[in-house]
């Protein structure tokens, strides 16, 4: 059950994964379920991009970086991850809170 999986790892006060090494695709599904999001291939495309970008730069990408990097328009990103795409993807992808303002 995804709740059990969530209970086995540590999250910070805002809901971000504390230890990046704990992340697995199954955990991503569990976090997404907690966020009320059903993950499709498009969602996974965004998650993969964010994880790659974070590994490259050490920082979670901002919403604009995600849109420019994946080619997915802003409108669609808000549909895939309603109310705050950059932050929600970071949570699901096991990354830190995005720091940039754009």
């Amino acid at each position: 059950m995804s709740e059990d999986l969530l209970a086995t790892v540590a999250f910070d006060a805002e809901g971000y994964l504390q230890n990046p090494a704990d992340w697995t695709p199954e955990l991503a599904e569990a976090i997404a379920a907690r966020e009320g999001i059903q993950l499709t291939d498009k969602h996974w495309q965004v998650i993969r991009f964010c994880r790659e970008k974070a590994a490259e730069t050490g920082k979670s990408p901002t919403l604009r970086q995600i849109s420019l990097g994946t080619g997915i328009p802003i409108k669609e990103l808000f549909q895939l991850f309603p109310k705050g795409p950059a932050k929600r993807v970071a949570k699901i992808a096991g990354l830190k809170k995005p720091e940039g303002c754009v």
Partner: protein, 165 residues
């Protein structure tokens, strides 16, 4: 029971380059936090949504006490004398400096930023009184801007947090 979304409304009354960005940045941050955003452009703020002017906003250094030499990477942080600030070309210099700093942070130009905000769900409005006063019309503004009265604005922002810039 559904919970109402938090709503933030920004009133943009200035047209200088430095005063155009606060609402755009904070509005973007609000949208990224799931907050509804309304931006109302009035007086000089209409320049921000004016197709011909929006990417040509300027920053005259006159009267800006905070613009000191430290910003230019110089080791000494002193103010530029006001009499120097009024010389021809100084506005262009200050504007270019600010544009470069904005671009270095990968912040987009006003036109692109407004498009992003609209795509993310922000609603943009122009103040009818100012539009009439300056002899402007719908054609002068970017698509998606609605011209409304102050009373409309008050109706639209019931319960919202209103920030005047």
């Amino acid at each position: 029971m559904t919970q109402e979304n938090r709503h933030m409304a920004f009133i943009c009354s200035k047209g200088n380059l430095d005063m155009a960005y606060p609402a755009l940045i904070m509005g973007w941050a609000a949208l990224g936090n799931g907050v509804d955003v309304t931006i109302f452009f009035t007086f000089w703020g209409l320049d921000i949504i004016n197709k011909k002017r929006m990417d040509r906003l300027q920053l005259p250094p006159v009267g800006i006490a905070s613009m000191k030499t430290g910003m230019m990477g110089l080791p000494v942080d002193v103010g530029i004398p006001q009499l120097v600030g009024v010389l021809p070309g100084m506005t262009a210099v200050a504007t270019a400096l600010m544009r470069k700093k904005i671009a270095d942070l990968e912040v987009p130009p006003v036109s692109e930023f407004l498009q992003m905000l609209q795509d993310a769900g922000a609603k943009l409005y122009a103040c009818k009184m100012t539009v009439d006063m300056m002899g402007l019309s719908q054609e002068d503004f970017i698509d998606g801007v609605e011209i409304v009265t102050a009373s409309d604005f008050v109706d639209m922002t019931e319960g919202a947090q209103i920030i005047f810039i």
